[in-house]
Symmetry: C2
Subunit: 161 residues, 2 copies
DNA sequence: CTCCTTGCAAAGCCTTTGCATTTAC
DNA sequence: GTAAATGCAAAGGCTTTGCAAGGAG
């Protein structure tokens, strides 16, 4: 069911190229770089993390382009926007992982994930009932770790982005 | 099943007072005002909308206090934070409406809601499996209105907050 | 060759913070 | 009376924007 990373990445790239062609937009190397970076990652990233990673790889991309591209990729549903309560947006791939949710501890800030195909199906049918075509969804759960020791060991808010 | 607004508001206020007492914090009129404003509303509001509404009612509250209070109310799970893709946080009451999701059209910006007790139950049990105590959750669906006419009639992005 | 994109730097906007004053308990 | 909370204004940080230069189709 779950596909591997490189398979997903090339699938995303193929889709991206066809969307771009369909809309008369251009496949620049910067856009491909951002797309690949998100699909290579196995977790959610924020705009600056994407920028820094690309710069470290020698790409001369600018922040403005990263933001522009992220908007574009979100619009065509290749990336999903999520809000982990850190007051800035995080992004993650849409393809291949569209059935999970984020569990954020309000005490220590740790972010866990859980997956459920049943959940995805339910979201899909609720959207359909409302006359919507589903692109992507993002579900955040705010609560507290039951394991107080592990939780208390981390500073609130400063934890895992 | 669904409770009326004033009932919910007083329930929230009672809970608020007991939380404050338990933590040695104070029940100021500003905090009560913010809480009431959110529970009176039948939709999600952003920080500035809350600020403006309270000022219009003659309250001399400041923005700083609105933000502080929103953090506090979120921490004790009396309000839920949601991200509708507008790059700033929206807030809504947690009590009485904890089982719904937001459906955001990426073309026209319209926000619809759908409710499902089954969904809430599933989120609850997924959280429990991961060792988490559920406080609140927020689920946003991004997609497109199937009714193209109604959708095209609104400017993208600028619509319903 | 044309028009979309990029990149820089500045502007914008939401949110947080420092500190003196006020206030709940 | 005392610690907590408010309010103001300034700072902070993420994101967007204007415009000239560059590049894909």
């Amino acid at each position: 069911m779950q596909q591997n990373t490189s398979e997903l990445t090339s699938q995303a790239e193929t889709l991206f190229r066809s969307y771009m062609k369909a809309e008369g937009l251009r496949c620049t190397s910067e856009r491909i770089d951002v797309l690949q970076e998100i699909y290579r990652a196995d977790t959610h990233l924020d705009a600056d993390e994407i920028y820094v990673r690309l710069r470290q790889q020698g790409t001369g991309i600018s922040r403005a382009t990263v933001y522009h591209t992220l908007d574009l990729l979100f619009r065509i549903n290749l990336v999903t926007r999520i809000d982990l309560g850190h007051h800035h947006t995080h992004y993650e791939k849409t393809l291949g992982v569209a059935n999970h949710l984020h569990i954020v501890c309000q005490r220590c800030g740790k972010v866990s994930e859980a997956a459920s195909g049943q959940l995805a199906g339910m979201v899909e049918s609720l959207s359909a009932e409302k006359g919507f075509t589903l692109g992507s969804f993002s579900l955040q759960v705010f609560g507290e770790c039951r394991d107080k020791e592990a939780c208390a060991g981390r500073a609130a808010g400063s934890a895992a982005d």
